[in-house]
Amino acid sequence: MTDALLKTTYPLFLDIQLGFEQHGFEPFQLTVQQGLSLEGITGIFGHSGSGKSTLLRAIAGLEKKITGSITLNNIDLINSDSNIFIKAEQRNIGLVFQDSRLFPHLNVVDNLKFATKRCKNNRLNFDEIIKLTALDNLRHKSIHELSGGQKQRVALARAILAEPILLLLDEPLSALDRKAKASLLSLMLKVQDELQLPMFYVSHSLDELQQVCDKLLVLSQGKVIGYDAIHTMIHQLNYSDVTSDADDIIHQQTSLSLPITTLDNGQGLAILALNDVENIYLPALDESFTKETLRCFILASDISISLTEPINSSIVNHLFVKISSIDIMKNKVLITAISVKGKIEQEFFINISTFSQQRLALNINQQVYLQFKASAVRTYLY
């Protein structure tokens, strides 16, 4: 193994200048030229066939027909000009696959030991990782006895125990039910918090990515169409063609991380501070919730606009905003508005029909009220 890949300095910097071409029945081309500073969890989003898994496999060293280069902290993982190709087993990069890929001839603990036996660092404590990933009761179970969620937990623990410098996750939740997905996402966040291991998380579910990622890279038809902080990137996607291609998968939305003021106000609501004067209400959270901020999103279709303050309404959230843009998209309108009361400006995205837009005669810079129910403030995890 390349010694430099055993102990590396964080943050990692990954520079990708690659081309990949697949001929035949389903021709496909991937071209990525992107520098990425990897801290926390970086999401890769794209629809099927956008090239996200191919990109991940290229970084992992499982895709050999690559032209160009990938360097990790100035170490060439691949450089087709200099004929450099560091094999997957020598890159010290971990990968959790969509289908867990546990070894069927080994039980849970032996699958985990497969990783530790080949680990050159051995800095992590085996029992602590078992505890962290809640696998203590499954230690001696056969792989065939595990549920899908349990298998992915073992696969995650196995990947961590190999002590990689970067962990890649290729749609690890796609085969799981909603409950198992939420549980594994929470586990990923816990692992990231405790181990500070940079992760690349590939998914075609924006809801999942919104909950865990710090940054987001968006691929479409083999090309990078955006890379930014998670909320900024999700907001940029509201204007993108990517959304209109697959309206059933992603929806225009306002993505937020807000400090929690009250978990339960005794009247069934939790309160988040939008700014120094305005709050956002959502259904009460469990008292055991320990985080100080909450990631949530509000679908653009769940927010409505009123020209006067809707004080005589059961809808609890109303915010005073200024319209910053009006974009007509097919038969609906995307309104972008900015909160005006507090010191921090927050963008909101609202979908209304062209009928409503004309009836209210909305204009840019016009000040209006937004209203949305508490239940419209969604969070994938909690």
Partner: protein, 229 residues
């Protein structure tokens, strides 16, 4: 002095064991290569490996006899290297058996490697396992049953070989006289009693071996074991 039939049995077991060992050593990488090969030439190599399944043994034996003779290059090279003639030797019947039993070892292994595919090997690589590590710690344990099947079929087929051995080995006691040749000798000499003993022994031996393979690969038994766990 050892009974000639016992001597033939020992020669047969020695030949079959050596052939099986050589076939596992040579056949494993060949089966691996064929399982992973994407070239259009794959079918040609597969056809060559499978040829002994359809070719009359005497045809293979005839060409090997010519090749092993001191007048031709393989035979000459052997003679130069060992100082002994290759045709009508124990080495000749082992080489002939390796070629003749090749498909019985290569095909089950190729099928097992194809079924295994790349996913688990990629998982192994991502955990730091190199190619040999992956082979011995992932491929071998998972395809163990196919290795046993391949070895058993290779062994059983070699034990039952007649045509090729008769052509390239002749009938030299302790050297090339194997059970099938000894049986043929007894029939020629109208010694049906001794022929019966050899024939029934070969029949029962083959039957036991095949039944063991099928028992090992019985999906019902595997399911029952899994359920017990």
């Amino acid at each position: 002095m050892i009974n000639s039939d016992v001597l033939a049995l020992l020669t047969t077991l020695k030949m079959a064991a050596l052939t099986t060992l050589i076939l596992l050593i040579l056949g494993t990488p060949l089966a691996w290569y064929l399982a992973k090969m994407r070239s259009r030439f794959k079918v040609i190599i597969e056809a060559i490996v499978a040829l002994p399944l359809v070719l009359p043994p005497t045809v293979l034996g005839f060409y090997l006899l010519i090749a092993f003779s001191p007048q031709h290059l393989p035979g000459q090279l052997w003679q130069q290297a060992t100082g002994q003639q290759l045709a009508f030797s124990f080495s000749a019947i082992v080489i002939g058996s390796v070629l003749y039993s090749m498909p019985f070892v290569v095909q089950p292994l190729q099928k097992a490697f194809e079924q295994l595919g790349d996913p688990l090997l990629e998982a192994g690589a991502m955990l730091g396992a190199g190619p040999m590590d992956r082979f011995f710690n992932i491929v071998l344990p998972i395809t163990k049953a196919s290795f046993i099947t391949a070895a058993s079929l290779g062994f059983a087929h070699t034990v039952g070989e007649f045509g090729v051995i008769l052509m390239i080995g002749g009938n030299i006691p302790g050297e090339t006289r194997v059970l099938s040749i000894a049986l043929f000798d007894h029939v020629e000499a109208f010694d049906y009693a001794r022929a019966h003993v050899l024939a029934i022994s070969l029949l029962i031996g083959s039957m036991v071996l095949l039944a063991s393979i099928y028992l090992l690969n019985n999906p019902r038994k595997k399911t029952m074991n899994k359920a017990k766990r």
